[in-house]
Amino acid sequence: MSKGAKADDAAAEKAARLERIDAAFARAIPYNAWLGLRAVDVGAKGEGRIVLTLPFRAELVGNPISGVLHGGPITAAMDAACGASVFLALREPQRIATLDLRVDYLRGAAPGVDLFCRAECVRITKQVAFARGTMDQGDADEPLAVVAATFMVFRDQGSVLAEGLKESKGGAGSDGGGA
């Protein structure tokens, strides 16, 4: 097989994986779908890394005078991105729930411009996972927000849930429930 064909295969495999992840996280989870989130990039298999886009729309505005986005969609989209990064880092599909999430709003979002949520799972233990994320409007070096989030991983409880999740494909979203 030529180098070009191998690269094509790898690209096709990544595109198919991205499509599955987009279907499971962005489209199947009602609130992520409502926000209009889409998965646009993922790390290698087993690597907890994801980039979601949050398209700007008038319904998401929090300041009717300036037209600036409400913080809510930013928090929610970053919760979704961090949760997805943790889920992608798991070996088995298990239910996760956000324990806590901190958002620092570094600068205001420009009105009318789409956003990118970049998240990475930095550490995963038996019961808890840690994620970091940033949000920007196209330039990853100029983040609007930085995020740190921790998640509960339900490993023992997961056997029953994991079966259900496999069947329902994508009920694995973060529900923000406590332990």
Binding site: P30, I65, P73, A76, L101
Partner: protein, 152 residues
Amino acid sequence: MSDFLAVLAEAKRQSDPSGIAPAVPYLHAMGIETRLEGDVLVCTMRFSEPLIGNFAIRALHGGTLGALLESAAATTLLWRELLAAEVVDERLAMPRIVSLTVDYLRTGRAVDTHARAFITSAGRRVARIRAEAWQDDPERPVAAAQASFLVG
């Protein structure tokens, strides 16, 4: 005067913040309402299917609780500024959020959720707020948040 400032002026005149949420596009879209209980501003997020984050266990998306808590914090501050303002003009607008930390305490069920916020410190430039969200029992919050805002 913008439409929104007119809404704020009317809310101040009536001593009733219930007109504020419908005038903020995101709050309106989320089904979030604002009202006074005594002198405490309460935000209620009416349950609707798009708020679900985990359909296997029918739990609210954690982000919706974060959004509700931030809304309660911001509108509580706005209401306080509005009550104190002699004139309603552009300087009021919306308090600018600096940081928000959300603690998720219980699974948010598929029902209406309420939130209230308490100003823990208010300086000339920064206000710190604690917010709590609950469903049936205010003593059993589903989520809580600590937020800092730039004011003035």
